[in-house]
Symmetry: C2
DNA sequence: CTGAAAGCGCTTACAG
DNA sequence: CTGAAAGCGCTTACAG
């Protein structure tokens, strides 16, 4: 009856409890699930048996028989970036509140097969559903990934499917910050882009759109790696070009690297060149100069994605509706099935009017 | 046969495959587990049935019957901090390499009951084992948490149990950086501490030890929150005291906040006061001035903790040993059951000799 | 090489 | 209120 675990230790099962308590397994099970239809006497005995045996029901067995595993599987690429990290925190806290556990899997690479593999591994656990972060960073059509059965939610830079999606409105953010820079008097704005396929780089698209709409000169975007060191190198190069008076970097880390590179070459920020970032990294306000950026509500995005997911599951629906009405009603997008989370411009000191001609 | 999922979609089971392929469930199972003792003809038929039904075995059922769930449960407090984040990344990548999935749970608060609850939830999944990050940040005796059955590994600031433990050697690091500051000529070093119980604040203990051993004046440590804004406030206060020429902050974010506060009051770093951090945050080198700090190998700590855990499990032991000999042999501590990971002093520009008297 | 049977730890009708 | 039975989706001896 007492089985071995991987560790070699014995594990106690419901049978052990039943035997010790002198009741049937059914009764123990009933006791475990609310205690209805179990006599007070039995309850005492069972409680005691559980206590002395230190019994805990197997979540695995339960999930199997109930055909519902109260776990949310999150698959994410770029897991070490700020966005995914903060979103994971949000997912975790909201999942805990709603009684779900978290499973995470990050694909080995960005290739389709690896992602599909992660998605499948996630699905094999028979989770409540899958939260897929940044599918749009992948060089594939997003919907290709979802012949997968079961509920899911994607967190994307921009609405692409119109359902089961939390969008961070990256394009809008890119546009806003570029416009802001232009409004300061800059002739144009250069862009140092995060390494994401151009078709899915919404921040870049917003930047381009702002330039187009204002009839500004559109320089080639400069593709950067994730490492701020790459941005630093780019900053050194950009410092050589006096036409560069304003740069929008794809994220704050890159902006910081960029500023270092600019300074390496004697440029002052923002006096000689204005630099803006994206995300509002927790340290952005402490930088010298403080970084002008777009604040992204990543934690909230994570939390909302949990609610969006659970909303698809009958057993979890009732208490979700109250949440919908309460917290996120105002911003609900296309339908209750998707959500736009808008970034907010945060103006600090890394940006300013262009240097007057000497 | 085809059951409903939480989503309401049908799920295909091994029975469906067996029926469609016209073989027994046993044969399908054998096919799934290596294909030995299955005739080529059957293999074809089974393969085809799986293909057309898009069948995937239930990880849950497998885990139940095999009595081993290839998942590692990680429970962590302070999950949004740099260390835990990077370690999680390391755990994740190493777990993937070794064929294990990851479950994470973070206690709602630091209180014993919440932590115990997380630990239990983790154990209920019957995972391969539990990796517990920073149990020593908790106001409890660590070993109290482990009447839990099953394999586990703790990642701590300092060896406390002597087994199943990856230590980051925080005390040593605190000592090294304090000594470095003293070697620069500072009379003493102030400490802005992370909000961790004093008994378990190894960085602080290292700092104190260095001061004691050199007979330096030992100022009261200044307890700070996790928010760099708190450190900024402290920096402003410290700026008022001209005796403060060197400060060691409990981590880099705090050091950055501190520098901001010092500057708010007109102090120059390092000319007026030297500031050192801890961790070697990815942005530390880009700060102006670059932060002198202790580099911590968090990612490696995460990876090693996976190996340490798997080493306790018979089914995973063979290929671990090669790893032991290969990668981490040199640094193996007390035994193969625990490991010290030493931080490294990184000298940048935020520290220097004390200001000469004017 | 193959299938029927028993069992993993639990839950859920079903009869008392 | 209670227990015996069937079943969740799989695997693993056990007989052929």
């Amino acid at each position: 009856m007492a089985k071995m675990r991987a560790s070699g230790k014995k594990s106690v099962s419901i049978k052990d409890v039943a035997k010790l308590a002198g009741v049937s397994v059914s009764s123990v099970s009933r006791y475990l699930n609310g205690g209805s239809n179990v006599s007070p006497v039995s309850q005492k005995k069972i409680a005691q048996a559980i206590e002395t045996l230190n019994y805990r029901p197997s979540a695995l067995a339960r999930a199997l028989v109930r055909e519902i595993n109260p776990a949310i599987a999150v698959v994410t690429i770029n897991s070490s970036q700020l966005g995914p990290t903060q979103m994971l925190g949000g997912i975790e806290s909201r999942a805990r509140e709603r009684g779900a556990s978290i499973t995470i899997s990050v694909p080995e690479t960005d290739r389709r097969e690896d992602i599909l593999n992660s998605l499948h591994m996630a699905a094999d656990q028979n989770p409540l559903g899958i939260i897929f972060m940044y599918p749009d960073m992948v060089d594939e059509n997003i919907s290709d990934f979802f012949p997968l059965e079961g509920p899911y939610v994607m967190v994307t830079g921009q609405q692409t499917m119109g359902a089961h999606e939390v969008s961070l409105c990256d394009q809008e953010g890119g546009e806003i910050i570029t416009r802001y820079l232009l409004s300061l008097g800059h002739k144009t704005v250069y862009h140092v882009a995060v390494p994401v396929r151009l078709e899915y780089n919404r921040r870049l698209q917003g930047w381009r759109k702002a330039l187009e709409n204002t009839g500004s000169y559109i320089p080639d975007p400069i593709i950067c790696g994730w490492d701020p060191e790459d941005a630093r190198e780019i900053g050194r190069r950009l410092a050589l070009n006096d036409d560069v008076t304003a740069v929008f970097a794809g994220n704050d880390e890159l902006a910081i690297g960029l500023i270092s590179g600019l300074r390496d070459m004697g440029k002052r920020v923002p006096d000689d060149v204005s630099v803006a970032g994206f995300d509002d990294h927790p340290l952005s306000g402490f930088w010298d100069p403080g970084l002008t950026t777009i604040h992204q509500e990543f934690i909230r995005a994570g939390r909302e994605s949990v609610d969006l997911l659970l909303r698809q599951i009958p057993q979890y629906q009732e208490d979700v509706n109250s949440v919908v009405a309460g917290e996120s009603g105002e911003e609900t997008g296309v339908s209750k099935k998707s959500l736009d989370i808008h970034g907010k411009l945060v103006i600090r000191n890394s940006t300013g009017a262009p240097h007057k001609e000497k």
